[in-house]
Symmetry: C2
């Protein structure tokens, strides 16, 4: 049994005052609540994301550092998807008895490392015992210039649809983990090219990279009509934009930027369906957004500056529904990404 106050004191000591934000954090960890100075001319962007052992992750799949890191990463991705700047996090964790020594510290190391790298200060949270599983709820408060948040409901017919990065590797990584492959285990860590490819897919699942820089640039430049992050799978997440914006879309299968490791591993394994993984696989944590033709040059600049490719995959239409063009034929697509059930 570990003492909550002792754990909070250790986290507090390591959370430290972030240089960039210390003027704004009037009170951080250790009071009833954090006190944060507001900034004129900004809107707040607030969200939270829950990660539950046995539902979102398994303890044997990743060291605690990566579990903590991913909990923050998935929440950061929501701030990126609003075109915002992530600023402050509160993290609540519930932990069962019997965790190995150092588990809690490593979990928070993962959170604090990514927080520091993302310019985010840990300002609060709560800890508790749990009877069974690990629960991590990460709340984030971000900001954007007043009126610049990019919502799901702003897509307009005629806008092009873009995604950042490459798709499908995270879902394949999850399949590999479920099949027994481990990050540092056999088949993922050998010197063969197959091992390296599997490792790439598993890493994409366990260590997602939220697209903070690209999201912020799209927000600051008012370059996107609508935006969402790809957490449940492109077909499902794009459908959220279509529903909220009361529009439709046609995407080109051939344009989907399938991750290289997915294509390469599919060559010798016909159970791997690259376009299917790109369309319906979850947790890529890339950004999907819509933008008018006038944004094209600015988008190319963002891609060059961030080093993250932006790929045009289709177009928003006034006709409702989601359709995909393949070999010149257009077929309706049903959202088939991850569907959360309770």
């Amino acid at each position: 049994m570990r003492d909550e106050i002792e754990i909070i004191e250790r986290i507090r000591a390591r959370a430290g005052p972030d240089k960039q934000l210390e003027d704004r954090v009037v009170a951080g960890i250790g009071d009833d609540a954090a006190v944060i100075a507001t900034q004129a001319g900004t809107d707040l962007i607030a969200c939270c994301d829950l990660m539950v052992e046995g539902v979102h992750f398994r303890r044997e799949w990743a060291p605690p550092r990566l579990i903590g890191r991913k909990a923050l990463a998935s929440t950061l991705s929501d701030i990126a998807a609003m075109g915002g700047i992530a600023r402050f996090t509160m993290t609540s964790v519930a932990l069962p008895a019997g965790l190995p020594d150092g588990f809690v510290e490593d979990l928070f190391d993962g959170i604090l490392e990514l927080a520091a790298a993302s310019g985010v200060a840990l300002v609060g949270g709560d800890t508790s015992r749990s009877t069974d599983s690990i629960f991590i709820d990460v709340s984030l408060i971000g900001e954007c210039q007043m009126g610049r948040a990019i919502r799901r409901n702003g897509a307009q017919p005629g806008e092009a649809i873009y995604v950042t990065g490459y798709l499908g590797a995270s879902a394949l990584g999850l399949k590999l983990l479920e099949a027994g492959f481990r990050l540092n285990g056999e088949g993922c860590n050998d010197s063969t090219s197959l091992g390296a490819l599997r490792r790439q897919a598993v890493l994409k699942h366990l260590v997602p990279q939220p697209r903070l820089e690209a999201g912020r640039a799209l927000g600051e430049g008012s370059l996107a009509g609508s935006m969402i992050d790809l957490s449940d799978g492109l077909s499902t997440d794009l459908s959220h934009i279509l529903d909220e914006s009361a529009v439709g879309a046609t995407i080109q299968e051939g344009a989907l930027p399938v991750a290289e490791c997915v294509r390469a591993l599919a060559v010798n394994d016909n159970t791997i369906d690259p376009p299917g993984l790109a369309l319906n696989g979850g947790e890529d944590y890339e950004l999907l957004f819509t933008a008018s033709r006038e944004s094209e040059r600015a988008l190319a600049d963002i891609a060059r500056k961030t080093g993250i490719p932006l790929t045009r995959i289709g177009e928003i239409t006034s006709e409702r529904g989601l359709r995909m063009e393949r070999d010149g034929e257009v077929q309706p697509v049903q959202p088939a990404g991850y569907r959360h059930t309770i």
Copy 2:
């Protein structure tokens, strides 16, 4: 298995745009994150509070409406303890399979009812399955006038120590629940005076009343040097103020405002220790604060306006440590409230 999107849509429909706050909630539930307009001249106050089944509550002790209500109430109490105004909440819940029909709706009814009564808008959250227990993490964003937050570290020697309301009933209610008494069961609901007293204690545990109005008045009037809410028990919570402020305190046992139901039930039950429950019992969710003599008249005004008594229970000293005066003798007191372990 319930569909997360369906649940979110129902909550979204009921969360509605709060009349008072609708101009400020640019985007609420249903986007990647909430977007909130900031207000010039204010500081943000942010906190979260985790409630875990089997640790903080048991399903058989209270209907889901009261479980949801309490999760929000305990978090509101933290905002009150900063002298702030509660504004926006995000609520994450993880729920096991097999809950009775309507459980989720009732849980959120409890949250939404108290939110509405407290002027708070539900702007986001996350839902998930859990493998075993119910988890509720409530995040709150409040505000106060710039620089007016009341922290734990501002207690000064010579200040008087006050508490709102009455103490000890919640801890006694918890004991009664653990002993098998139920809110609407035998021994809590009969027409005897004993039944009514037990019910009062159990209600105090299950339906705490966060002192938002008093907290806000103390903050707006800059009337308190330091403040904390009583969640772990007075001896422990006061010690947090003493540690953070690098001061000590002497309290008078006879001055502790023991709840009437605690005193009355102790008459026929010598296992009930009224001063002990007032000193070390947790979850009263009253406010403990320190204030100078000059605040006395303003404090009396607040007590009159809110209808909540403010009782002077002791004094801050430059000599460190916590002491209690009983029958003219002064003895050191060890913090003996609830100590969280993980």
